[in-house]
Amino acid sequence: MAIKIEKTFQVQEPLDRVWKFLSDPRKVAGCIPGAQVTEALDDRTYKGLIKVQVGPSVTDYRGEAHIALLDNEKHEIQMVGKGQDVRGKGSASMKMTGQARALPDGSTEVVTVSEVNVVGLLAQLGARMIQEVSNKMFEEFTRNLRTQLQQERLVGTEQSSTSGTAPQPQPIKAVPLVLTVARESAGRLFRRIFRGSGPR
């Protein structure tokens, strides 16, 4: 299943700080719930891991991500990645572009476009479910990003993450996430019915 996810968000930090953060895969990975960079193969290719919990079982998706484009002038980054569940339950590949630009008020806007191709159990949940799950993930990601940037500013640890030890990632809990999503979808459905407005 191929889906395209377009997201735009703003961070109350100047462009150069945001860009520096975003162009460091280790830092970005630290904001993705459940994700971790395990090894740098070269300065543009990384091995990584995402833990996803479906019900009681935790699954590790292992894969590689490669920075295909890193334009410090235009503040644009393009990444391609492919990962496989270590137990062979499915796989996912992704192509993501991100571009950051300064806003007049001194904050930064980030526009991302991701094309994700999912195979396996997750893909069976249906496009709309994955869309909602990725929305949730993105929300969490941007929240983490903002917090990280804020912390860096407060404690002045603005340095390359390669020297630090990465914290153990917590798995993404797919089921609670799905349940939240289902609740929200249901809520929307009910509101729609009672308002009697247009279809889904």
Partner: protein, 784 residues
């Protein structure tokens, strides 16, 4: 005319309450899941997440070492035993557990057996499989392209093409289509759907190493055929195999094939010497077991300007998935699809079907359908509306003009069938009258003036059921007869055992009613048993509406054998010649002296206590019935819909179903069957599809996405009947279980297209979801 029996006897035509319902309602039935044996262990399937991938390694150590796990069986293990592949029911083979590569998502890869089902499920998660993904083939139209991946490396023919099948006169049809003044063409896709029975598939396999006997409790619509296949494939002596199909919660064709789970359970039981239970989850059932339809069809009609039909040409592409696991008679690669000339008197017709492999679940089973008849009925009934639109003619008028007239039966169709009986005008006229057709058309006209969307859809289908005559019909070589064995006890009560197996149809009542009709023994005094191959006579099982036409006829014939023996006994008891006796349901009496009689109960007692000299004791009979022809039930369905321009929602306002299934055994059961079948037809037309994305991921593999209608979605069904008995069936009955599912999809779709026809809409493929309708409304500029 059949003699009328008293309500106490409860023969043909009485709405006897279903004898089996009390135990179902009270939860006292025995389904496979209710079978608990000492020492029983549980199996869990490991399935492929990929639609097409090479298996590089299957690592089972972690699962094997998991506490409570007893065995992990892989394709390689089965290969050593020569069991990694098994024959399908249709000239093909399929993998039991994958070796080499997987060919569809959810394909069976390994089987984990553990002390309890939770351990088995947990351990299945620990089986690690290395896959290397391969290009996926989802679109059947691409299956024969030069650059399409070849899916079946096991076959000698390096192509995704399975079969080409044609029937009729190609040349004459081509020429008629070329010269006809009016032509209509329809491209229609009958989507992949799934019967989704209430109970999923499952089994308990129990091999007794002391006796060498293998007993398998199994959700099987055809237990005898399964026994023979197990004997042939596993090399076990057939007398040492006992298949028991206990109570079954719906089958609809889904429980005809043999599935890998059954085979793995048997292998595990042989290996462990313990009973092994395997029960599918809902998603496993939807994703891996027999689907139905997936036919990409084109129909072209030729007609004169006055609407007289001249010819029909049909071309179809059949998507069978990874293995051709169609459950259908072996001489018919496209089932009985050649019934596609329907209720109409065509002089010329031609039909061709090509089957292809894709990376989807295997199957092509007959979902509440006599092998591709639903597809055929849908196609012709939809095409008739397209032609009516082309001719600017009322679709009812077009149908009435072209029906096979009642005096033309038995009717020889241009595609080779001999229709036994029919009166299509009568069924249509009754349906028109019941629904008030003329008034509805007026109402529609008024509503259109006001911009409201209302449609009327008609479907006048002809079915072909009761497979089938031994000269043409077999499944894996076994002729499609069926059987009944009746034993009348000394006290006049009886037990009958059948080669069929009900899954909710009510056989325990209807077969008892046939015996009651023939022998006058009250329904309450008759026990019907099915499904145990150690006790029941051999039969091909229950599907394709064949129980009444075939096993019902066998029941009738076996009863008549008993009656003839009873005549001899009655003559002896009444001290007259047999020829001097008359029969009425329940007793023989002396001609001209109705007071001098012997009841069937008295005769039964005498069969064990007071026999005429030379007559064999006992009162039993068995009959294997080979039907001389199929039966051809028919009907007219009319549907009225209103469409919400804001939401695209289609509301079925009224639905009239007039069915003719010949003489009726139990009107209440027939009505129940029609309600159920119409509801399934509604689901197919509006709600259901097992769709796949471009990577072969199943998009309808859970009840989140594969919708099942509830009372909320189901409209009020109005039923009616005409009665045209089958001339060759001993009771004049035809079979009815499938008619509503075969006939209704076209009525629903015709109604929706009719509501939108003035906007230029000519066809909409099922399922007609609100989203699909709303997009059309938006494109036509009428959405609100």
């Amino acid at each position: 005319m059949l003699p009328k029996t008293s309500p106490e006897i409860g023969g043909m035509g009485h709405s006897v309450k279903r004898k089996e319902d009390l135990r179902f309602i009270l939860g006292k039935g025995t389904y496979v899941e209710d079978v608990h044996l000492p020492g029983m262990v549980y199996g869990q399937m490991v399935r492929s997440p990929y639609a097409h991938a090479r298996i590089k390694a299957v690592r089972t150590e972690a699962a094997r070492n998991f506490p409570g796990v007893l065995a992990v069986i892989t394709g390689q293990d089965l290969e050593k035993a020569g069991l990694s592949w098994m024959p399908t029911l249709f000239h093909d083979k399929q993998m039991v557990l994958a070796t080499g590569k997987v060919l569809f998502q959810s394909q069976e890869v390994a089987f984990v057996v553990a002390e309890d089902r939770y351990t088995a499920a947990d351990a299945a998660e620990l089986v690690e499989v290395d896959y290397e993904d391969l290009p996926v083939l989802v679109d059947p139209h691409r299956a024969l392209d030069a650059d399409a991946p070849i899916l079946r490396e096991d076959r000698e023919e390096k192509t995704n093409h399975i079969f080409h099948w044609e029937v009729g006169d190609r040349k004459a049809t081509d020429s008629v289509l070329q010269s006809a003044p009016v032509k209509a063409k329809l491209d229609a896709f009958f989507p992949r759907c799934h019967p989704a029975p209430l109970e999923t598939c499952g089994c308990v396999a129990d091999y007794n190493s002391a006796t060498g006997k293998l007993t398998v409790w199994e959700t099987s619509q055809a237990p005898h055929a399964h026994r023979t296949l197990f004997a042939l494939v596993a090399g076990l002596p057939e007398n040492n195999i006992r298949i028991i199909a206990p109570d079954i919660g719906g089958g609809f064709g889904n429980k005809v094939p043999i599935y890998p789970g059954y085979v793995c359970s048997v292998v595990a039981s042989l290996q462990l010497g313990r009973p092994v239970k395997w029960i599918e989850t809902r998603s496993e059932n939807l994703q891996s077991t027999g689907f139905a339809r997936d036919y990409h069809m084109t129909a072209e009609l030729a007609a004169d300007r006055d609407g007289t039909l001249r010819g029909l040409r049909v071309k179809t592409l059949a998507d069978h998935g990874a293995f051709n696991a169609a459950a259908q008679p072996s001489k018919f690669p496209a089932g009985l699809f050649s019934i596609c000339t329907g209720s109409y008197d065509f002089a010329t017709a031609f039909c061709e079907v090509d089957g292809v492999y894709t990376n989807k679940a295997p199957g092509g089973i007959a979902y509440r359908c006599s092998f591709r008849v639903t597809e055929a009925a849908y196609l012709i009934e939809r095409a008739m509306d397209v032609l009516a639109q082309e001719l600017k003619m009322d679709p009812v008028e077009l149908r009435l003009k072209n029906f096979v007239p009642a005096d033309k039966f038995p009717y020889q169709s241009p595609l080779g069938w001999s229709y036994d009986s029919g009166n299509y005008h009568a069924a249509m006229n009754l349906a028109l009258e019941k629904i008030g057709y003329r008034d509805l058309r007026k109402e529609q006209e008024d509503k259109r003036q006001r911009g409201e969307l209302m449609g009327i859809g008609v479907s006048s289908f002809t079915e072909i059921v009761g497979a089938g005559p031994a000269h043409t019909f077999d499944i894996v070589g076994i002729k499609m007869f069926d059987s009944c064995e009746i034993r009348v006890h000394p006290t006049g009560k009886a037990i009958a055992r059948m080669g069929t197996k009900a899954q909710g149809q009510g056989h325990e009542t209807t077969f008892a009613q046939i015996i009651a009709q023939e022998l006058g023994i009250p329904v309450a005094d008759i026990t019907i048993e099915e499904g145990d191959t150690d006790t029941a006579p051999y039969g091909l099982g229950t599907y394709a509406s064949r129980s009444t036409p075939v096993a019902g006829a066998a029941t009738s014939m076996a009863s008549r054998k008993i009656r003839e023996k009873g005549r001899k006994i009655a003559g002896h008891l009444l001290e007259v010649n047999e020829e001097d006796l008359e029969w009425e349901p329940g007793k023989f009496y002396i001609k001209g002296a109705p007071g001098k009689s012997k009841t069937i109960q008295e005769i039964a007692f005498a069969a064990y206590t007071d026999l005429p000299p030379g007559l064999e004791p006992g009162l039993e009979a068995v009959h294997y019935y080979d039907p001389p022809n199929l039966t051809f039930p028919f009907g007219t369905y009319i549907c009225v819909v209103d469409i919400d321009k804001g939401t695209g929602e289609v509301k079925v306002r009224r639905f009239v179903a007039v069915d003719d299934c010949g003489n009726v055994i139990n009107p209440m059961i027939v009505e129940g069957q029609i309600h159920g079948g119409l509801t399934e037809g509604l689901a197919i037309a509006f709600m259901q599809e097992i769709a796949y994305d471009e990577n072969g991921n199943i998009q309808g593999g859970t009840f989140m996405d594969y919708l099942v209608p509830t009372a909320v979605e189901t409209p009020n069904w109005e039923t009616g009947k005409t009665c045209t008995p089958s001339p060759h069936h001993p009771l004049g009955a035809k079979g009815v279980g499938e008619s509503p599912n075969v006939g209704s999809p076209a009525a629903f779709v015709n109604a929706v297209v009719d509501a939108l026809s003035h906007l230029g809409v000519k066809h909409i493929d099922m399922p007609i979801t609100p989203w699909k309708v709303w997009q059309i409304l938006k494109a036509k500029g009428v959405a609100e």
